[in-house]
Structure formats: C-alpha cells, structure tokens
C-alpha cells in the first residue's frame, strides 16, 4: 500500500471514529474540568461530588420516564483549546446537555458554543458579571464569585480585624488582575474608615518563590495581604515566605478552596492569621459533615474543596429538571432560577445577582469566614452583607 494512500485511509478512519453515544435512559452530566495538571484537585473534587450526589439521587422520573444520573468527565487541563474540543465532543457526540465547566479563563472560548447550543453550564469559577450575565441565560454560577465576596464580605472583615492598609499578591492572570481591580475599588469605597490600598504584586502563574515580590510589598507595611485567586498551596507558600521576611499581619483569601492541614503543613505556625471565606471551621449542617465522612471513606483522602458545591449543584439541577418535567435547558434554567434548595451542605440556597450581574444566576448560600489560630480554623464572627 502506498504511503499517501495509507495516510488517506487512516485519516478517513480517524475522522469517522466518533464513538456512538449510549442511548439508554440516563441523564448525562458532563464535567469539563482539569483532571490532570496542577489544578486537577478542583476537577477531581467535582467528579466526586457528582458521584456522591448520584448515590443519593438514585433513579428519578421526568415526564413519566425513569432516569439515572451518568457522569461524563472530560479533561480540559484548564486549556481553552482543549475545553472547546471537549465541549464539542460533549454536545455533538455524547449528547451531553448539562455540565460543569471549571475556570473563568476557559469561558472566553466556550461561551459562544454554550450560547449556540443552549448548553447548561454549571459554572465553577470566580469571575463575576463577565460570565454570568443576561447574554448567557444558561450559565449558572454555583459558587461565590469574587465580586460577591469582595463587596459583601471584605469590608466586614476589615472592620472586624481593624485592617487599614491592604496589599495584594496574586497570579498574573485574568483572575488576579480582576481581583486587583475590585480590591482597589472596595478600598476606595472604604476610604471613610481609613482603609488604604498600599500596593499589588502580580507574579508568574506557576511561581513558587515570592520572596523578592513580597519584600517590595512588605516595604509598604500592610496590615493584610489579599491572596485571593491563589490556590491552597500557593497561599501557604506566600504565608511561609512572608513570615520568614518578618511579616506579622493577616492574609485574606477567598476564592481558593483552602484546607487548614495543607496550609499549616506548608507554612507551619506561619499559617496563623490566614483568613478565608468559604471555610467552615465547624460543620454548618449535618449534610456537610456526612458528605465529608462519606468522601473520606470512599476516596481515602481529605475532602477536596469542590466536593460540597458539586454535590449540591448536581442535586439541585436534577430537582429542577424534574420540576420542569423536561430536559430543555431553557425551561430548566427558568425553573432553577426561581427555585430555592434545602439540600445544600452550606445551608438553604437560592439565586441572586439580578442587580450586580443583571440576571439571577449567582448562587446565594450562607458563607462563613474563618481564621487560622494555632494551626486550626476558628470561626470569625462576621455576617455577609448584600451585593448591590
């Protein structure tokens, strides 16, 4: 067989090998998340949340038909190109209409496809109205957005801890930059209380050494360093290295899913005075604890941060589908936006954001703030304000 011919046939084969999608009565929920690479913990957490939810949902009825949940994972490794490819496969080949898509950075690439096919995007990411807005009615953010946290939570914490001078350290990516913008704005609004933004340091995305940058930031002696937008490990490293340079103040972190053990492991006593939103020092609900226990039993690992939210999202969407009595994403979106939910591990959940994002697509749940003392999370008594 001649070479070009060989190429021809394999090409044809390649292009036609689109695996047939199984046509049995299952409600497919995709998970388009990093399952490999540095951010894999988030994606794997979502997988597990869905799996735990599937156990609890069992079979359910939609329009008189029996369905069961089926998880379809896609590895995006947070690469926009791969995410587009994954979404194409999900929609066109595996006929998945509902799915988690993790990461603000990849949404620029997938939103057009989401709009085109009315894909139901269970959005796990920090960026606010850039993504959840009237243009994207089928995009629901199932976790707190950074603007939500900045505008409703941050001021309370500053008041509580009497923080006047705040600096920022974060990755030099869309997230980091967006956060700096908001932090500056918030600080500006709080001028009355004597709050001042002293400086920012944007570092390389995978940086592990912050000493030099910290040195410059610490020279402006801040009371608190906002390490928003950095993942757990990085926050730990920043804390450790800042303490080594003699920094005594607070660290405030919100979007990252933090685990005290990891932080203390990295930063030792340096982890003290790390403040974080969305960390429950004590289980808010029985369900929260139950999920944590089941997770550790099933996966022999401390519970990954995204598990609870993924669990809740899965169950809530299924409920909405049942109520809507159809899989039509537009209908379900309407149904969901108007509903509230009792089985969120964080407590009763509902939807908000029409003022801030122009559409009810931002989840509202009770949110805690905690602070590390002597290597353990302790509750920080502040109540979250309302996002205008």
């Amino acid at each position: 067989m001649s070479r070009p011919l060989l190429a021809a046939l394999t090409f044809a084969a390649a292009a036609l090998t689109a695996l047939p999608s199984s046509a049995q009565e299952s409600f497919k929920i995709g998970n388009l998340s990093p399952l490999s690479g540095p951010a894999a913990a988030f994606g794997i957490g979502i997988n597990r949340g869905i799996e735990l939810a599937t156990e609890d949902v069992g079979t359910f009825t939609v329009a008189g038909k029996q369905y069961k949940l089926e998880l379809v994972p896609y590895d995006t490794s947070l690469d926009p190109g791969k995410t587009v490819a994954a979404l194409n496969r999900a929609i066109l080949n595996d006929n998945v209409k509902y799915g988690f898509i993790l990461g603000s950075g990849v949404h620029g690439a997938v939103l057009p496809i989401i709009r085109q096919h009315g894909f139901f995007d269970i959005f796990m990411g920090a960026m606010g109205k850039e993504i959840t807005n009237p243009e994207n009615p089928t995009v629901f953010r199932f976790m707190a957005s950074s603007d939500q946290l900045y505008y409703t939570f941050t001021p309370e914490i500053y008041k509580k801890l009497n923080i006047k001078r705040v600096g920022f350290m974060g990755p030099n990516n869309d997230l980091g930059r967006a956060d700096v913008r908001m932090l500056k704005d918030v600080a500006g609004r709080l001028k009355g209380q004597g709050v001042e933004f002293v400086g920012e340091e944007l570092v390389e995305i995978n940086a592990k050494d912050f000493q030099a940058a910290l040195l410059r930031l610490l020279a402006k002696n801040p009371d608190a360093i906002d390490t928003n937008a950095s993942p757990t490990g990085t926050v730990g490293l920043i804390a450790k290295q800042a303490r080594e340079l003699g920094y005594k103040g607070y660290f405030i972190s919100s979007t990252a899913v933090l685990e005290a053990k990891a932080l203390v492991g990295i930063a030792g006593r340096g982890a003290d005075n790390i403040v974080a939103y969305r960390i429950w020092s004590t289980s808010p609900t029985k369900l929260y604890q139950e999920i944590a226990d089941r997770h550790e039993k099933k996966y022999k690992e401390p519970t990954l941060g995204t598990v609870w939210e993924a669990y809740a999202a899965t169950r809530w969407v299924v409920e909405a589908v049942q109520k809507a009595g159809s899989f039509d994403t537009k209908k379900v979106a309407e149904q969901l936006a108007g509903s509230s939910f009792q089985f969120h591990p964080y407590g009763p959940a509902t939807w908000g954001g029409e003022k801030s994002h122009g559409i009810r697509r931002q989840i509202q749940t009770p949110l805690p703030a905690s602070i590390i003392k002597d290597g353990k999370w302790e509750p920080l008594e502040v109540r979250m304000g309302v996002l205008e």
């Binding site: 070009p4 390649a14 190109g81 496969r89």
Partner: protein, 316 residues
C-alpha cells in the same frame, strides 16, 4: 496505485463532510490543524533543524488575525494571509539570527522565542492580556458567516490543502533537494563551495514553514472563536514533534500520518486525564525504540517480515 493515492486522499476529504456527523467533522478539523502544523514543522526538520517553539508561530498567526479582525475591524479573510505574513516575517528575523546555529542551539533559541511570544501577548492588555481575546469573527461566504462545522470545514480544508500542497511540491523541487545539502556542517561547507547560498536557503525554508503555520494558526483562532496565551504553548510544540517522530521522518507523509493518528486518538481519550499523556508517550517510545522508521515505515517492514518468513520458513 501510488499515482492514484493523492487524488484518493483528496476525494476522501471532499466526500467526508457529506457522510460524517458534526462531531466527526470537528475531529476532522482538529486533525487538519495538527496535520498542517506538523507538515510545516517537517519542512524544517528535514534540513536537520528541530524547532522547539513552533507553537510560537501558530500563536503569532492566530493573534495577527484576531487583532486585525477584532481590534481593527479588518475582514477575517484578510486575517488568514496576514497571520501567515506576520509569522513569516518573524521567522525571517529569527532565522537570520539563529539559523547559523546548528542542532540544539537552534532548538533552544526557537524554544526561547516561543516562550517570549506568549509572554509578550500576556503582558499587554491591548493584546488581550492573560485572559485572551474572545469573539473572534469567522469569515463569511456571500454574506453568511461560516458558522457550522460543515461550512468551516471547507475553509480549513482549503488552507490545509494549499499549505501542505505547497510544502509537498517545494520538497520535491530542486529547491527542496538543495535544502538537503545543508543537513550537516560538513555538507553545508561543500554546498557553499559549489555556490549554494546556504543561509538564504535555510531562511527561505524556515519562512515558508512558519508562514504556512501562521496561516493555519489564524484559521485555528477563527475556529476557536478565541485566542489566549494558554492556547498555543511549549507543550503544543512538543506534541507536534511527537507527531512527526511517531509518523516517521523518512517520508513527507510520515509526520502527516503521525499527526492524523495521534490527534484523532487524543479526541477519544478525553475522560482519562493522565492516561492520555501516558498513551501518547508510550506510543512515542515504542516507535523510537523498535520502529525507527515510524508508522509510515510499518507496511514496508511487515512486507519485509512476510517475505523473510516465506524465504525462510520457521524450523522446529
């Protein structure tokens, strides 16, 4: 048989969209992208130069097209040649500086170039910064934008066929043959002594390769409707190398075969996370160690094996 196979290949490609499901077309499009990139990379490989930063040229093409159409409102059609032009010019500059270096020095220089390109686009918000630029317009044909996979497939196919066709023809012209005289330092000395302006030839080949890459990069951005510094990275460059190696460097069709097979395979390995990389790497190592000629060499080897078996039947 051989005479008909290229037309046959084209025939398959033309018939495909009428038979295939949209998803298969998506796969076909992605395959065409990496096939073209790899064929372009091969044009440099075969003169003994290994580029560790070809993704940089894809990115240049993509960004050139996006900046023109999104920021400056130029027609997406113009974006495609513009992408090729920008990548080609960059290649010209880089080539003039680095093609006198042989072997790994060149490779690392191009690696650095690739890193610098992404660092550059990440640095400036006007170029989209780290978030990249969404909402890239697609060219429209008689007023209707090529929105569907079916419509866009033809654009990709056209650029791929033109690009690969050009590379294919060039390789088998006198120009392509002369490039082979520059493979090693010694033979380059001889080439110079018979009046071959080595530097100019090398640069020309590099420019052509990168221009084709850039054009396809522009189309790639239009397909994704988006571009960002994370899309075309160092890992993209190494992927292209793997495709070429697995396909086999002995023939023009080797890299194309490798890119086709591995890309299509990759599309099937979404759910498996790390295992996908593992499969790729395993195939690569097997090929390098036991099938130095690459996949393209497999039929010949099998035939040889068969002949050997007939000639000397196993004796118990």
């Amino acid at each position: 048989m051989k005479r008909f196979s290229v037309p046959l290949l084209l025939a398959v490609l033309v018939v495909l969209p009428f038979l295939a499901k949209p998803y298969a077309l998506h796969v076909a499009i992605v395959v065409l992208f990496s096939v073209t990139y790899t064929a372009a990379l091969y044009a440099v490989l075969r003169m003994g130069y290994l580029s560790l930063g070809h993704a940089g040229f894809i990115a240049l093409g993509a960004y050139a097209c996006v900046i023109l159409s999104v920021r400056l409102g130029v027609s997406p059609w113009l974006g495609i040649p513009a992408g090729g032009l920008v990548a080609g010019l960059a290649a010209w500059g880089l080539g003039a500086l680095t093609l006198r270096l042989r072997g790994i020095y060149f490779s690392l220089a191009v690696f650095a170039f690739g890193e610098i390109v992404t660092a550059f686009f990440r640095a400036f918000d006007w170029f989209g910064g780290p978030a990249g630029i969404p909402g890239v317009p697609r060219p429209s044909f008689f007023g209707t934008p090529l929105a569907s996979h079916f419509a866009f497939y033809w654009l990709v196919l056209a650029v791929a066929v033109l690009g690969i066709g050009l590379l294919y023809r060039l390789q088998f012209t006198r120009f392509g043959a002369t490039l082979l005289t520059l493979k090693s330092a010694d033979s380059e000395k001889l080439a110079e002594s018979v009046g071959i302006p080595a530097a100019r030839y090398k640069t020309a080949a590099f420019v052509v390769s990168c221009a084709v890459t850039g054009c396809m990069g522009a189309v790639h951005a239009q397909y994704l409707l988006f571009v960002s510094p994370q899309v075309f990275t160092f890992l993209t460059s190494t992927d292209l190398l793997i495709y070429a190696m697995v396909g086999g460097l002995a023939s023009f069709w080797g890299p194309i075969l490798g890119a086709g097979v591995l890309t299509a395979l990759g599309e099937q390995l979404f759910s498996v996370g790390y295992w996908k990389t593992l499969v790729y790497a395993a195939i690569l190592m097997i090929v390098i160690l036991v099938l130095p000629g690459g996949l393209i060499d497999l039929p010949r080897r099998l035939r040889a094996r068969a002949r050997a078996a007939i000639a000397a039947p196993e004796v118990r």
